[in-house]
Symmetry: C3
Subunit: 268 residues, 3 copies
């Protein structure tokens, strides 16, 4: 820790979050991804802000539980591929190592979160926003892993086989299969499928009911549930990020990302 | 082991069980919880008798499998909260430690049971009668954990996430969700949903068929299945009981139990 | 490794496989069990050829993925019980030890297979052809374990409880329950149920699509998914085979096999 004074954020914590909306009220810490024009793709800054928000929610004694949702029609389109653009060849390794470190700290924040964490998946979910779902609750999605020439993250290589068996996990993590919300429910990735028109009303009612339950009991129960595999989850997270650091420097991955942007341009 | 002579139980084993009905016949050891006027709530005596019955069934070479059911309309309403009543403040810690030890031995009896154990869940199941279900088979239930300000037991903090994923397990263990028999089937907690009117007939047919299967093969297979995580289950059981010993001495838990009795009275 | 020259197999690898059809083309290594008049029951020779074929497919850099299917109407009727016939009493132990070693090497070949492995289960599947399914993907089956007085193999004592919970796994591994393809899907044993009339067309389309995905990414992802429990799977495989070596020498097992052949004859 540095002993120099850190620059103060604005009073009331405003200014701390540029990419998120935070609403901490009545024991519920609401996190909203707030880049709706970019389908809430996660930039380097947003990763850092999410790590900070989860830390705050975990430490604030008034907080019973946290929720995460997206602004607009999308929940989250995953890692912002702009994070990989405009990198000169001599900087690729540095970029890959830094991105691996950031991802590992991001996923660790979910592994270590000490209170109930509820995903209010308001729209499509892609990539890392899906793979971390095994570390909390949720509602609709698809997964484009292999198509981007990458490999699983968010502890999904470990958690997904435990949710749905290795074969169904491989469909998502190796074979690029897209599944419906109903199928995601059957595969234990999410705990409820809620129609759009009642989504806010129903999820708010659930959250308010949960926020009134004995909070110590919930916290102790969550710690018990997580404790049996916390060490394993951290080891998996580290291994996944190491593999990704290699993948991100591979020709196969670069081709896949180039192809992604080319196709996108071609469609315009 | 003491070398003093133990007092003899009545001939034929009668008198050994006051809270259970035992019927050991044709290779099937039937255990019936027998406090129907109390919805088969488990008293300290009943815990001890269940431990003894499982030990007997495990050691008796004529026994192929054991079953467990409830007398009357209820399967089991869980821990008898009377176990926590009329405790003077200076005795609370002692009560909590003793209750933790008893619960740990009770759950260990299920972990270590060496033969097939089949639950004939004849009616509603609550609390600890649900959380140990992950250690055998079953048919209808709900779970009131968090509402009582307690925390998971019966290895449910470890087994439930492995049956249905952490998120769906959290619904039951943290968020007090009640689920139908059909949903319990989908979540791998039970192996069949059987209508009331054919319940006895169908379950008896199944049990008789199983009792005729090669018994050594079944015993070896059960040992193989259990062995991979027996040490882990015992560690989880110990950790859960330690957390509960703390919970039972907490203000939050006492308030929840008081509230439970007050509401019950208010309804009368 | 011997330094003596091994007898050459015929050019082009023909002659290497008498019980399998191998078709290695376009990155897809197809293995077909080819004893249709015996419902593709697995002889000692077929075990050895399957081990060899998986080794080849794993090492051949042109191979992206492997598939396994059966010739004729059956997928596989499991271990050829003829392997246990015509054994004189003094040779029973030797037979059991050799069969245990062979089975352990066979299952290891699945545990260690480094690429996607897709089962095209074209008809009924029995015994060891079911228990190894937890190590890849599939379509219809039943399981006759206990009825043969044996015990689980193929890592099923470990993998099946993780696919469907211990109770539902016990139905298959202890209680000889037969389940439908739909139920096998719900229990995470297989990833798709496909009608007969479109089976070949649909599975070929899926395989061709998978063969075009980024192959390095798939291989790294499979390694990640498998790595978390590879050591455990090998330990389970070893333990299961040790138990089976004992079972195969037991009176109960011999009676069950005799009864199987007697019933078969009686039906003729």
């Amino acid at each position: 820790g540095s002993e120099e004074a850190a620059p103060e954020s604005a009073p009331g914590g405003e200014g701390k979050y540029q990419t998120l909306l935070i609403n901490n009220t009545g024991g519920v810490y609401n996190i909203t991804l707030n880049r709706p024009t970019k389908k809430n793709a996660i930039t380097v800054q947003m990763y850092e802000e999410l790590i900070l928000a989860l830390k705050e929610a975990g430490e604030d004694k008034s907080v019973v539980l946290a929720t995460m949702t997206g602004s607009g029609d999308y929940y989250c389109s995953g890692n912002d591929l702009g994070n990989f653009m405009n990198i000169t060849p001599d900087k690729i390794k540095e970029m890959a190592v830094n991105a691996g470190d950031l991802l590992q700290r991001f996923v660790s924040a979910f592994i270590d979160f000490p209170k109930p964490l509820i995903g209010l998946i308001n729209g499509p979910a892609v990539g890392v926003s899906v793979t971390v779902l095994g570390l909390f609750d949720a509602a609709t999605f698809h997964t484009p892993f292999s198509a981007l020439g990458q490999s699983p993250e968010g502890c999904s290589s470990y958690v997904f086989p435990r949710l749905m068996g290795a074969a169904k996990a491989s469909e998502l993590l190796l074979f690029n299969k897209k599944i419906s919300a109903a199928e995601a429910y059957n595969r234990n990735l999410i705990t409820a499928v809620i129609p759009d028109d009642v989504f806010v009303k129903e999820t708010q009612a659930t959250i308010q009911a949960i926020a009134k339950l004995p909070r110590e009991s919930m916290a102790f129960s969550k710690v018990l549930i997580r404790s049996a595999e916390k060490a394993q989850l951290h080891a998996v997270n580290k291994e996944e990020c190491e593999v990704l650091i290699g993948r991100w420097q591979s020709q196969e991955c670069m081709n896949a990302i180039m192809s992604f942007f080319t196709q996108k341009t071609a469609k315009l």
